[in-house]
């Protein structure tokens, strides 16, 4: 009897063990089961002959004659993102990581460099008014592409591919994330085999909105031809194409596991294939920012790690190990406090935070001015941000040409107190009041170590001038989520002050500055979708914005933008705090990564190289 039972469980254990073993041992050989990643299943050892076109002696010496004996070309570049790439079609991206993953394969006509200047990629040159590429009346732009461009499958890159990319994203059912970049286009004409003319729906001051930067990467018509409309996400052919686009950049896809790893190998048809240093590129995703920093700086397992947004106290000792360089990868935007001009008092019920309900005390410019003067930006920066930010007085800081030199925001508690005294806000105990209105503010932001620490500093700063702050922290998914049914979103702004980061997405600030005009005021009438969530409404500002919309001269546009920034800041419509940077880290022997404001952190990856 007991024998029988013994046998029964022993067999069961054995079976269980076999199942586990079978499943386990299947792993290493298992190719990614998804068909998409298949174009080259690594079978024909691709790394062996990386330079099909070039004379072998030339490449390493020519580009960088000054560097001491260049390292042997080849090898693998390993990049670590704590958010993993999930699609390689940039037009269907759900995060910066997807644009960056696609950057290794796909290219736009031009990209921004570290100085916010345009660099031609597929284009032969940057069209300007001077060279006749940009129409003086702002109605069109004419691009010339480099001759003889090829896709990584060997077919020719043509103007039709560019026109196709526009049609692909202009179709609403495709649901392109990048749609806004293509919306202003009325038509694209093919002038000849290397020239195209884009006509805008209305005269535009920003001729570089389309086909430039991460939003402008060009897809191959041959591959995506059947993918316009809903098919882009639903048809099997297009799903496969999204995960394995054919491109023009220095590498092509070898293997992609969405949400995990992308491995790229040389694209032999790349125009400068002989100058490309690395044979292979890998972008690994997942984990957290802290261990990503450690993987570069302490264990040197990877060459480059992206966006190490971690508190200064944790980041600095890691960076101090000496194996890596921290580089400001890009601008994250300006961390700011938005002032609510509408009254968020819960007693108002449905009328809460509606623009027709003026705020009881934040509409007083003296209070806004005093708050701005009392905040210790330097302490917030020194104690919390460190290398990942610097104090700023401006809400518009990039490009450098529009960063206003006119504003000041040094801390001055005495002056702040004086302003409040003068305006009739008198201290009654620790809190000031006037006509029975007490200066007690609610201050909300998303849950994030940095932000809660900033909140604490600001709370103590404002206590010094007799303003009591009640802080509130909201889950980031809710705060930024924009769900019209949720009371805690930043669009509804059921508080007096709120803090978050934002910044312009292109070198032209118009889109960004639109966020303070009266028409954008967020209210229940527009389902709380207006981008002006502080409900600031100033006819003077609106007039300047109308002027900006019509102005085509770049210098005068910059002046206008500065004027608008100064107006917002001096009027206390918004209180800028910290200009945040995306801190990246790279190994000391990797050369190439640069700062970049409006483009990807890896915009120039084709030129990255290892130095001895």
């Amino acid at each position: 009897m007991s024998h029988k039972r013994l046998w029964a469980w022993m067999t069961l254990m054995a079976v269980a063990a076999m199942i586990l073993a079978a499943c386990g041992s299947g792993q290493p050989q298992a190719q990614p089961t998804a068909a998409p990643a298949a174009p080259a299943t690594a079978a024909p050892a691709p790394t062996a002959a990386p330079q099909p076109t070039a004379a072998p002696e030339q490449p390493t010496a020519a580009p960088q004659p000054t560097t001491p004996p260049a390292a042997q070309q080849g090898g693998k570049l390993t990049i670590l993102y704590w958010q993993a790439v999930t699609t390689l079609n940039p037009h269907l991206a759900t995060g910066t990581k997807d644009f960056d993953g696609a950057t290794v394969i796909l290219e736009p006509l031009a990209r921004y460099n570290e100085k916010d200047e345009l660099v031609p990629f597929l284009a032969a040159e940057i069209p300007t008014i001077a060279n006749g590429g940009v129409a003086a009346d702002g109605t069109s732009v004419t691009w010339k592409i480099k001759p003889g461009l090829k896709w990584s499958d060997g077919t020719d890159f043509t103007i039709d591919d560019i026109i196709f990319t526009w049609k692909y994203c202009a179709e609403p059912a495709t649901a392109c994330t990048t749609k806004a970049a293509f919306d202003p286009i009325a038509n694209i004409e093919k002038i000849d085999d290397t020239t195209l003319k884009i006509t805008w729906k209305e005269p535009t001051a920003d001729p570089y909105i389309a086909f430039v930067g991460p939003f402008g990467m060009i897809l191959q018509q041959k591959q995506f031809g059947n993918c316009i409309g809903a098919a882009a996400s639903t048809s099997a052919e297009c799903q496969a194409a999204n995960l394995a686009p054919i491109g023009t950049n220095a590498w092509k896809l070898r293997e992609f596991r969405p949400g995990d790893t992308v491995i790229y190998e040389r694209n032999p048809f790349f125009r400068d294939a002989d100058k490309v240093f690395f044979d292979e590129v890998e972008i690994k995703g997942g984990g957290d920012a802290t261990s990503a920093a450690r993987a570069v700086c302490e264990t040197a397992e990877v060459d480059f790690a992206w966006n190490l947004q971690i508190p200064k106290a944790v980041l600095e000792p890691i960076l101090a190990s000496g194996k890596c360089d921290a580089i400001a990868g890009g601008l994250f935007g300006v961390e700011r406090i938005v002032v609510n001009f509408a009254n968020p008092d819960p007693a108002l019920g449905d009328k809460r935070s509606e623009p027709d309900q003026p705020h009881p005390f934040l509409t007083d410019p003296a209070v806004r001015r005093a708050i701005s003067l009392a905040i210790d930006r330097k302490a917030i920066d020194d104690q919390l941000y460190g290398p990942t930010g610097e104090p700023t007085c401006n809400i518009l800081v990039v490009p450098a040409a529009v960063n206003s030199p006119n504003t000041k925001c040094d801390r001055d508690v005495a002056e702040a107190n004086r302003i409040l005294d003068e305006a009739g806000w008198v201290r009654n105990g620790p809190v000031r009041e006037k006509n029975g209105v007490k200066l007690i503010v609610s201050f909300q932001t998303s849950i994030n170590t940095l932000r809660q620490s900033s909140q604490a500093i600001i709370k103590s700063n404002l206590a010094e001038i007799g303003i009591q702050v009640n802080v509130k922290a909201i889950d980031a998914a809710v705060f930024f989520g924009g769900d019209p049914g949720n009371p805690d979103t930043l669009n509804k702004f059921y508080a007096d002050l709120q803090m978050y980061t934002n910044g312009p997405n292109s070198a032209d600030p118009q889109q960004y500055l639109q966020g303070w005009i009266c028409a954008e005021v967020s209210s229940s009438a527009n389902q709380w979708n207006g981008s002006n969530n502080g409900r600031y409404c100033n006819p003077e500002y609106d007039a300047l914005f109308e002027q900006l919309k019509k102005e085509l001269n770049q210098e005068r546009r910059a002046q206008l933008a500065i004027q608008m920034n100064d107006l917002l800041v001096n009027d206390g419509a918004v209180i800028p705090l910290i200009n945040r940077r995306t801190p990246n880290a790279k190994l000391k022997n990797l050369e190439g990564p640069t700062f970049n404001t409006f483009d990807s952190s890896i915009w120039n990856i084709a030129t990255w190289r290892r130095v001895p």
Binding site: P28, T94, A180, P258, G259, E301
Partner: protein
């Protein structure tokens, strides 16, 4: 017996339906937006985000979305992920091997360690071995995996540099070198999981043995003059393994559920990591598919555990 199994399977269907409904409702009512990352981006206006939501079917009320999800599931279509815009099942198949090899190995090691430790602890109750084992079991129980994980990482990966901290999921095992590489990168995550799982199983094994050691049949066996070894291994062990085997069977679905924290910490990117990133990104189809598959596995292994019980324990009979 067959009748019993059929009845159980029939009961499982409404159970699974209710589970799926509840999960869907929770996901739908929880805040979140797949495009939250772009919420403030001035270049991606609300109108664009609305178009994408329509494309994902998120403009419909959630009960409608649930019925749609269910009907397409009955056709065998698990939907496409909002993040990859590719089929959900492909994603799951890609992640399964990582999870099985790491979490599965850990489970196997945990079982192989826990049974002998439990036996010795029970037979030599209150001995030094028992005390030490109990101590470690409680440490394993009470210290969360994100802590053990970080400590192991700091000590063995960052300071001693014995193991890597970035798990390479694309590693192909072709020779001895790549095999050792695989073993090295698996060591830390497996260790974290073994510490936890062994703790629970050891305690269970020990108490199950202790329950049996004092019973009459053991005294009878001893009285017959059987050797101690024979009594423990042939009589006590077999009987005390019955509940343990059930427990082990019930634990198998958790292998497939992955280990959310450990996988994330070591970048194993298996099913656990997939689940947590999908929840964070409000990628409903992926979360639904994963949780529903776990639900099915749990129901199935519950049934298997019950049947096993009947096979192992002749006193239990199903009719």
């Amino acid at each position: 017996m067959l009748q019993y199994i059929i009845r159980r399977i029939l009961i499982a269907i409404p159970t699974l339906l209710i589970i799926s409904f509840v999960i869907f409702a929770v996901l739908a009512l929880a805040p979140g937006d797949p495009l939250a990352q772009f919420a403030l981006n001035p270049a991606i206006p609300e109108s664009t985000r609305e178009l994408i939501r329509v494309q994902f079917g998120l403009d419909q009320p959630w009960p409608v979305r649930y019925v749609r999800w269910l009907t397409s599931l009955l056709r065998g279509d698990w939907g496409f992920s909002f993040g990859t815009r590719g089929p959900v099942l492909d994603l799951i198949w890609q992640r399964l091997p990582q999870t099985l090899i790491v979490v599965g190995t850990a489970y196997l090691i945990a079982v192989l360690l826990a049974i002998p430790i439990g036996i010795i602890s029970a037979v030599k109750q209150y001995s030094i071995f028992d005390n030490v084992a109990t101590f470690f079991a409680f440490v394993g129980f009470s210290v969360p995996s994100f802590f053990t994980g970080l400590v192991l990482m700091l000590v063995f990966a960052i300071n001693l540099k014995w193991f890597p901290i970035v798990y390479n999921t694309t590693l192909q095992i072709v020779d001895w070198d790549t095999f050792t590489q695989q073993v090295r990168q698996m060591t830390l995550p497996v260790m974290v999981l073994v510490v936890q799982q062994t703790a629970a199983l050891t305690r269970f094994m020990r108490s199950s043995m202790l329950d049996n050691l004092n019973l009459d049949y053991v005294r009878t066996a001893r009285a017959k003059g059987l050797s101690d070894r024979m009594v423990v291994l042939r009589h006590v062990l077999v009987n005390s393994l019955i509940p343990v085997v059930t427990l082990i069977a019930l634990g198998i679905p958790t292998i497939f559920a992955g280990a959310i924290i450990t996988e994330n910490l070591f970048r194993v990117n298996g099913l656990g990591a997939l689940l947590i990133t999908s929840i964070n990104n409000s990628d409903t189809p992926v979360v639904m598919a994963l949780t529903f598959i776990f639900a099915i596995l749990t129901v199935v292994f519950n049934l298997i555990a019950d049947i096993l019980y009947g096979v192992l324990d002749p006193r239990v009979r199903y009719s």
